[in-house]
């Protein structure tokens, strides 16, 4: 059907493509030009070479990558068993889980962080005499603010849910698990040896989306007063405008590189043709 719809609209394809390309490429090109074309000096790559020497670049990028790694680990450990169990045990609950996992899309981050902030203020006051007080302190450790990981896990749910759902849809989870079990594999082994290897593409997708989300997240980190990569970019933009745009362009290129790596990696996924 899609083909039939496309055929009469073929001239429009070029127009739409050109429009979209302009929309995306013009700001990008403008950013690049802004960073390399310094008035009075001609074309120079100083802005890019400065990046690595600027105070806070390495520490904030490392912090963001650490947060991303922790978020990916936790969200996958949470969602993979949950979604496999959902497929096998309670397929009727699927819409409920889907809605719950989509909620972070409709709750604005600003409202979300306001809630977190309130809890972080309220908690220590009421729990000051219990060991939980120390918990509240340690999750806000600026070297590794675990509270951000918790927030990012929630924010990543919609993307992870969709990526995993697509992966699980492409295979017959029940039959694979049963086949593994009839071959003498216990439940954990069936999951690890039979299901996970076939979810490789979906796991990579989910990880990548989460990584992109964490690298670019600003609102929550800024309002809770931590300084991962995105916050650092905004902070340096006040003093060094060219540098901050250069960092943005660089992070965009890094993201693309990761995306391409993923496409090359997951593209070889060996999902069996059905039928």
């Amino acid at each position: 059907m899609a083909r039939q719809l496309n055929r009469p609209g073929r001239p429009w394809r070029g127009v739409v493509l050109a429009g979209a390309a302009l929309y995306f490429l013009v700001p990008l090109a403008a950013s690049v030009v802004f960073t390399v074309d310094v008035p009075g000096q001609g074309v120079t790559f100083d802005a890019y070479t400065q990046i690595f020497g600027t105070d806070g670049f390495v520490s904030s990028l490392l912090l963001s990558l650490e947060l991303a790694a922790a978020t990916i680990a936790i969200v996958l450990l949470l969602m993979v068993p949950a979604m496999v169990a959902l497929r096998l045990g309670a397929p009727k609950l699927r819409p409920v889980v889907e809605i719950v996992c989509s909620l972070p899309l409709v709750v604005p981050p600003i409202a979300f962080v306001a809630g977190i902030g309130t809890v972080l203020k309220w908690g220590p006051e009421h729990l000051s005499r219990t060991p939980l007080f120390q918990t509240f302190v340690s999750i806000q450790n600026p070297d590794f603010p675990f509270v951000l990981v918790l927030a990012y896990v929630v924010m990543a749910l919609p993307f992870v849910y969709r990526a995993l759902d697509a992966g699980l849809r492409a295979m017959d989870v029940r039959t694979l698990v049963e086949a593994a079990r009839s071959c003498g594999a216990g439940w954990p082994q069936a999951l690890v040896r039979a299901v996970l290897p076939n979810l490789r593409g979906a796991l990579l997708n989910a990880s990548f989306l989460t990584l992109a989300l964490v690298l670019g997240e600003f609102t929550v980190a800024q309002l809770l007063g931590f300084q991962p990569f995105a916050v650092w970019i905004v902070n340096v933009s006040g003093s060094q405008a060219q540098l901050s745009v250069a960092v943005s362009v660089l992070s965009l290129l890094v993201t693309w590189a990761l995306l391409l790596a993923l496409a090359g990696f997951g593209g070889r996924s060996r999902t069996a043709p059905r039928g």
Partner: protein, 356 residues
């Protein structure tokens, strides 16, 4: 391709018993007190229409379903509470169930890996099993590179890899095309006999069940209707349901008096017990019906279907009843549609059932 010494371990074939199995899914009763025994080394087919509980019974033996009440015994030992991976039952599934990320060889070796068999040993044994199912050269292929029939052969080799006490086949041929189905059917039977492994085979295809199995258990609505050798099932069906489900049956109205039934102008003895009401249907197989041309008759040939050596002729009697008869093709050639014919039965006891 002969079974190696390794395979012959199955000399002590297992007995499988289902005792009063009952299982409900919500309001539907999948199994309603199933009692059935598979003898050591036999191929027992579970045959029935969809929803009769045959797959549920098989899955209970595999450990994927649990009965609400009743027991599953293997060699007299209650395995009802044993988890699936310790059941010692190899299973081939209806849908393609090979692990897509593993080669054919690794698929077969999967169970051995779970049992922590050393790499060299499990590779050797997996290769041997692939040889056994005629795919010795396909070890390195991935499932998506194999045809449906080849995939099911690999699945069979995988199911046999752990030398299970019982082999479970859940409609393994239903996704394949007709020709592959026939050859694989023979091959499964040959392997099963060579290994002497007790095998349960679920199918809704009566021809498949009759041609492969030592005994066929016909199920209906969660209960066993009859369990017998194919010839007995066909020749002496215990119930009208079995009679009509297995093979083709025509119903001809008749009237019972004193243990004989009057049908088509003949008086024939009733086989088995006659129903209470005198108005009955006589059940006849197409090969037992004789058709001869006779101008004075009211019965007409309405259709004929060429089956090869025989032709199946459908005759409509004066009262509208349709009777199917298999005639040698050269005889049927003379009986075109519209020909006036008479229908008669051989002088043998006939099966009767309550009129529908």
């Amino acid at each position: 391709m002969t079974a190696t010494t390794l395979e012959k371990a199955a000399t002590t074939a297992a007995t499988v018993e289902f005792l009063g199995l009952r299982r409900e899914f919500g309001r539907t009763v999948a199994l309603d007190g199933l009692d059935l025994t598979a003898r050591p080394g036999e191929l027992l087919a579970l045959l029935g229409p969809s929803g009769c509980g045959k797959t549920t019974a098989l899955r209970m033996l595999a450990g994927f379903e649990h009965p609400d009440s009743g027991e599953v015994l293997v060699d007299g030992e209650d395995v009802t509470r044993v988890p699936a991976h310790r059941r010692d039952a190899g299973m081939v599934f209806q849908s393609y169930s090979l692990f897509p990320h593993l080669s054919a060889l690794d698929n077969v070796a999967f169970g051995l890996r779970m049992r922590k068999v050393r790499t060299a040993e499990r590779q050797a044994r997996a290769a041997e099993l692939l040889e056994l199912v005629g795919l010795g050269d396909k070890g390195a292929s991935f499932p998506h590179q194999l045809s449906g029939g080849q995939q099911q052969r690999v699945a069979l080799a995988r199911a046999l890899a752990l030398r299970p006490r019982v082999l479970l086949l859940d409609e393994p041929l239903s996704a394949l095309d007709a020709k592959v189905r026939l050859t694989l059917r023979e091959e499964i039977r040959r392997l099963q006999q060579e290994l002497g492994i007790t095998t349960l085979f679920v199918t809704h295809d009566q021809e498949e069940a009759l041609s492969m199995a030592d005994r066929v258990a016909v199920m209906r609505a969660g209960r066993l209707e009859q369990c017998a050798a194919p010839a007995e099932l066909y020749g002496r069906p215990a119930t009208a349901f079995v009679a009509e489900f297995v093979g083709t049956m025509s119903r001809i109205p008749g009237r019972v008096t004193d243990g004989t039934v009057e049908v088509l102008g003949q008086r024939l003895p009733v086989d088995g017990e006659a129903p209470a009401s005198p108005e009955v249907d006589v059940l006849v197989r197409p090969e037992a019906v004789r058709v001869t041309a006779e101008d004075a008759s009211d019965a007409r040939v309405v259709a004929s279907a060429f089956l090869g050596a025989a032709t199946r002729v459908t005759v409509r009697l004066a009262d509208g009843t349709e009777v199917k008869a298999d005639l040698p093709t050269h005889e049927a050639a003379a009986l075109g549609a519209g020909t006036a014919v008479t229908v008669s039965l051989p002088e043998r006891p006939v099966l009767v059932a309550d009129r529908l």
